[in-house]
Point group: C2
Chain length 243, copies 2
Amino acid sequence: MMAPKNTIQQQLQIVAQCSLFCDLAPADLTAVLQTATHRHYTSGSFIFNQEDKANTFYVLLAGSVRMTQITPEGHQIIVHFFTPGHGVGIIAALGNFNYPLTAEAVEDCDLLVWNRELMNHLMEKYPKLAINAAKMLAVRFNELQDRYRELATERVERRVARTLLRLTKQAGKKMKDGILIDMPLSRRDLAEMTGTTIYSVSRIISKWEQDGLVKTRREQMTICSPHGLVTIAEDLPPVKPAN
Amino acid sequence: MMAPKNTIQQQLQIVAQCSLFCDLAPADLTAVLQTATHRHYTSGSFIFNQEDKANTFYVLLAGSVRMTQITPEGHQIIVHFFTPGHGVGIIAALGNFNYPLTAEAVEDCDLLVWNRELMNHLMEKYPKLAINAAKMLAVRFNELQDRYRELATERVERRVARTLLRLTKQAGKKMKDGILIDMPLSRRDLAEMTGTTIYSVSRIISKWEQDGLVKTRREQMTICSPHGLVTIAEDLPPVKPAN
DNA sequence: CGCGTTCTTGACTAGAATCAATGCATGTGG
DNA sequence: CCACATGCATTGATTCTAGTCAAGAACGCG
């Protein structure tokens, strides 16, 4: 519907860097890309829903995507935020089951789209593609495992600190008063990312704001002292000289 | 060193069913298997250690393997138990980083072994292999994600119930007085699998034992009423008629 | 300007961790 | 075969983190 944010040129660059396509012979890469179609999602729209049949395979070119999962009891958790260059829905499409989670565009998004079977054929034809997919999955698996360990062994405050630090890496934008997390980010989001409640998050953030570590507005967050957050995330003693 | 528990014949059967090798042309399968070597680990020995360089790739033929991870603070968590037919160390070997966890033989084990680079070549030659690896990873990823969600949203008792139910599926052996979990399983193991402490586990198990749901000995566990555990795991009301 | 969100804060509670003491098995060596 | 050491398991008392509930403030939007 709308024109994509970036030019085709720029998008190709993003794709070529994307770990799914790296190391692919240039000719093969263009062949693979020619089989893709292109879709735009406006902010707030859903790319797919939990329990949908997974027969599509996406690569995010522009925008950001929030992956959530909702339990039978109605608890929602946020599993991942995707930024450009990452594959979306790959796991479900590989495994040929239903999407275990919902993908929502939190900003306007451009995505490359493949049909599941088509991608399977491509992988048989270009083994590198399958190997890359597996590697990408391996990396994501490790990230998830780390977060699992954190959840199992760490306090809420540390988990929130870690999550914010991760977000600065993913979507941080340097401003004069600190690093802005450049996407809408509510207390609820943070709570659902760290496995806690909005109340606990609010208390923690309030305290940090008093200590000058962060500045917040509604659904927005600036990290003034990344180092201070690291101190909390790593459970180092605060800046007192005495130990 | 020692003769394997099963005959080569039996092992081939296991391997052929293993999701890593299924759908492979029989000729290709034998070709792939011929490149593997074979190793035996005695109970209690370590297959690899956290932080080792990951250049080996295993498939478990017999025995069981416990995967643990230890945090800088010294908290240990159990990430997975492997039973025959599963790939061990695959993720790290794919991603070409260090093993993020330790693999320990909890019983005598037989494994097939490949060198990392060799497996990479094999995958380029037999794309099906790479696709299967990716699919296998996708399945494990989903399992991990489920457990992550449980950890984030559920109480300890439910998590312990779920874990025991999973173990009955993985290593359950039908006995006359219930389903025996056929591997050494201490309170500590359960605590590290569910993200809690041995004290909480002990209290919960004691209560269940009083209610006749389970029977325990040292490092051993029999589930007398799987249904009762399901009731707890799903948070259904107990067997009272009134709601 | 009124409405719906989002966010904050306080009071209270409960689930689970921690600490400490003790009881049991199991295996060891005199 | 018994005394002992060791590791595993239980239980009670206590503490504390974080969840729950409730009320209201601040913000943004139509």
